[in-house]
Amino acid sequence: MEVPADLEKEIDERITHYPVSKRSAVLPVLHALQHHFGYLSNEAVEWTAAKLELQPIKVLEVVTFYPGFRQSAPGKYHIRVCRTLSCAMAGSAELMESLCESAKIDRSSVSHHHPIAVSEDGQFSIEFAECLASCGFGPVCMVNDDFHEKVEDAGALLGKYRD
């Protein structure tokens, strides 16, 4: 893993925001790395630990705690389907199914530790997410940073992104 010089510079700058303990900078550093690489590889964790003079396990603890951090590479378009109560009642499970079907994603290997499933062509990845804060308009999902409410036609939705 090669961290580009400008990224490292940015990270170094962020660390300076926490003069008392470098440890507190772990979240911003991780965010920066995930933003750049798309996910946090083991090398990224170790790089962070070295950077912040921490043990790698302490960084890993943080990474595994927040669902926002990904430990494996997502697809080009990462879909998050809300499964919290009102979306669930509005059919988020069905939405997940149809999205998987149309994006050709096999979710059978998904587990607690690896919630993300990636399509064969690497275009799409998908995972369940908790409340996306639009409970009145379920089912709701996000594709990368785009927000979609009352999603009914999965194929149409994906069609907008498909290359």
Binding site: Q55, I57, L60, E61, F65
Partner: protein, 573 residues
């Protein structure tokens, strides 16, 4: 360490379960209860570690003197001078809170019972049905507290959460995540004591998993202490795993003899087989820990190489003999020698009593050539001492050796020149450990050798006597800091093994050097009479934790740090 010189501690009055006690200010509530004889159940709390307060088992009810509302009269103290207590509606954890003046603690109320019951139920929800295969069964806090404080029956009807089992996290340790109750004792130990923080919780939530960082291992020399402090069977020792149920083990308080530190241990044995050694708390020697190396250094006790019978060389071959025969042959050979034709090489692994008998033997044999084999190695920054002999201090005191190993050279010279005709080697393997050669020993008319195991020196000896190993004898040793401590017998030696002091006694007797002594206590009595440092002592006076005997100037790095942390209030100690 002693309390002298410390500033007087301020004492506060607190009420525990309706009775008033005085405890030092700043004491943790859980410790205050312990001092009052009330045991508060706990998992995560350990006095040698910081208190994260995450298991919630030690919840107690707390109360403080009621403050009068504006306009109200202040409450009146009762005849003993205590103010009435107003109890808080919610429980607090006893492990992380300290006492305050006039504080009230209730450990046996309906609320605390309900709390413990609830905590137990939650802990057991995802616990696997592993008791039949779990090594911890029998010394498992989960089992104990479940019966003491938990429900009698299970209400759980769902699927249990699956986590990794039988995980290899280090060369000596196996992890079972399903059994882990997330008390984090092991993590704190590796962070705070062993300075090797490789453990951590990932996937916090209902899937919290204890793990080592990918690619790392829990491999430090103190890793097995995590197994001891694990309140459940999540961490198990590869060495002890599945060997024996703890309820069969006989526990004997003794010492580790792998280095000069003399860590206090408990030997777990069943039917003359040692199954494990665990550290025994002694805040003047080893705190509550010991190194893995010393802990596992007992397997040779059951080795096939153990000598079980006295051997006499007949026509170049060793043949089994009776003790009487072996002693007779030895005393006749030694009796033929003139003064200073015999050299006596004792061992820093012998107990004081054995060394004292060796000293007697030297004077009966009229020899000035007496020495032990020095053993020096690396010290670490925790417990391991550089001196690998457990009783060098004792040997120096009793045999009067200033510099161990100095006389060895002279003895070798004497052998080469033929001045020394016989050699008595007690509990030392000269060829492997002191650089002697078989040819050298071959020059001697007579070599007597005692040792627990077969070894090259034994091959070269004329009479080989099976000597007891450390778990098979009673006696005392003095560690590198000059502390006199006691060894106890956990097992009987195999075959006809005898303790070295008994062998030497028989030899002395056969050489016409005085009557027999039949108890190791008597040996110590005579030692105390002859060696001034031991004056007024007896084996029983040493006690299970030992007593400081001489000043050597050595310190224990791990203890020094512990004192520091106690002084800072980080741990209780």
């Amino acid at each position: 360490m002693s309390d002298e010189g410390k500033p007087a501690v301020e004492m506060v009055d607190i009420q525990i379960d309706g009775k008033w006690h005085k405890v030092p200010k700043g004491t943790r509530m859980i410790e205050a209860c312990r001092q009052a004889g009330v045991e508060v159940p706990h998992y995560c709390y350990h006095p040698k570690l910081t208190s994260p307060g995450n298991c919630r088992m030690c919840l107690v009810e707390m109360g403080m003197p009621a403050r009068p509302r504006p306009g109200e009269d202040p409450p009146q103290p009762d005849e003993d001078g205590h103010l009435p207590i107003s109890w808080m509606p919610r429980p607090v954890i006893a492990c992380a809170n300290t006492v305050a003046p006039n504080m009230g603690i209730r450990t046996e109320s309906d609320l605390t019972h309900a709390c413990r019951q609830g905590v137990m139920e939650l802990l057991l929800i995802n616990h696997p049905l592993d008791c039949p295969i779990c090594d911890q069964a029998g010394e498992c806090s989960l089992q104990e507290f479940s019966v003491e404080h938990g429900n009698g029956g299970s209400r759980f009807r769902e699927q249990k959460v699956k986590k990794p089992k039988n995980v290899d996290i280090g060369p000596r340790i196996r992890l079972d995540d399903e059994r882990c109750i997330m008390c984090s004792r092991c993590i704190r130990f590796t962070d705070e004591i062993a300075d090797d923080p490789v453990l951590g919780f990932t996937d916090r939530g209902s899937h919290t998993t204890l793990t080592v960082h990918p690619g790392q291992q829990l491999a430090n020399n103190y890793s097995l202490n995590t197994v001891d402090i694990c309140p459940v069977g999540a961490l198990t020792s590869n060495d002890f795993r599945f060997q024996m149920r703890v309820w069969f083990l006989k526990e004997t308080e003794s010492l580790c003899t792998s280095c000069g530190r003399g860590c206090n241990v408990t030997i777990g044995s069943r039917e003359d087989k040692v199954f494990r050694m665990t550290p025994r708390e002694n805040n003047d020697v080893n705190s509550a820990w010991m190194c893995d190396q010393g802990r596992l250094n007992f397997h040779y006790l059951a080795s096939d190489l153990r000598l079980t019978d006295p051997l006499i060389r007949v026509d170049g071959k060793h043949e089994a003999a009776t003790w009487a025969e072996a002693i007779r042959v030895s005393s006749e050979a030694l009796g033929r020698c003139q003064p200073n034709e015999i050299a006596l090489i004792a061992s820093g692994r012998m107990t004081n009593e054995e060394l004292f008998m060796a000293r007697r033997l030297a004077s009966v044999m009229k020899t000035e050539f007496v020495d032990i084999v020095p053993r020096n190695g690396e010290a670490d920054d925790y417990l391991v001492a550089a001196d690998k002999n457990p009783n060098t201090t004792g040997a120096k005191l009793i045999l009067g050796i200033d510099e161990p190993g100095k006389a060895l050279e002279e003895i070798r010279k004497g052998i080469a020149q033929g001045r020394i005709k016989a050699l008595v080697v007690l509990q030392e393997n000269l060829i492997d450990d002191a650089g002697f050669t078989a040819e050298e020993l071959g020059k001697l008319d007579f070599v007597l050798h005692t040792y627990p195991l077969a070894n090259p020196t034994a091959d070269a000896a004329d009479v080989v006597l099976p000597g007891a190993a450390f778990s098979e004898k009673r006696g005392s040793m003095i560690n590198v800091t000059g502390r006199l401590q006691r060894l106890n017998r956990a097992t009987d030696g195999p075959g006809q093994t005898l303790e070295t002091w008994e062998i030497v006694r028989d030899l002395i007797q056969a050489l016409g050097g005085g009557n027999g002594i039949y108890l190791v206590e008597d040996v110590f009595k005579q030692l105390a009479a002859e060696v001034s440092e031991f004056e007024g002592l007896s084996l029983s006076k040493i006690g299970s934790l030992g007593i400081p005997l001489v000043e050597t100037g050595e310190t224990v790095p791990l203890l020094a740090r512990e004192q520091e942390r106690i002084a800072k209030g980080i741990i209780v100690g």
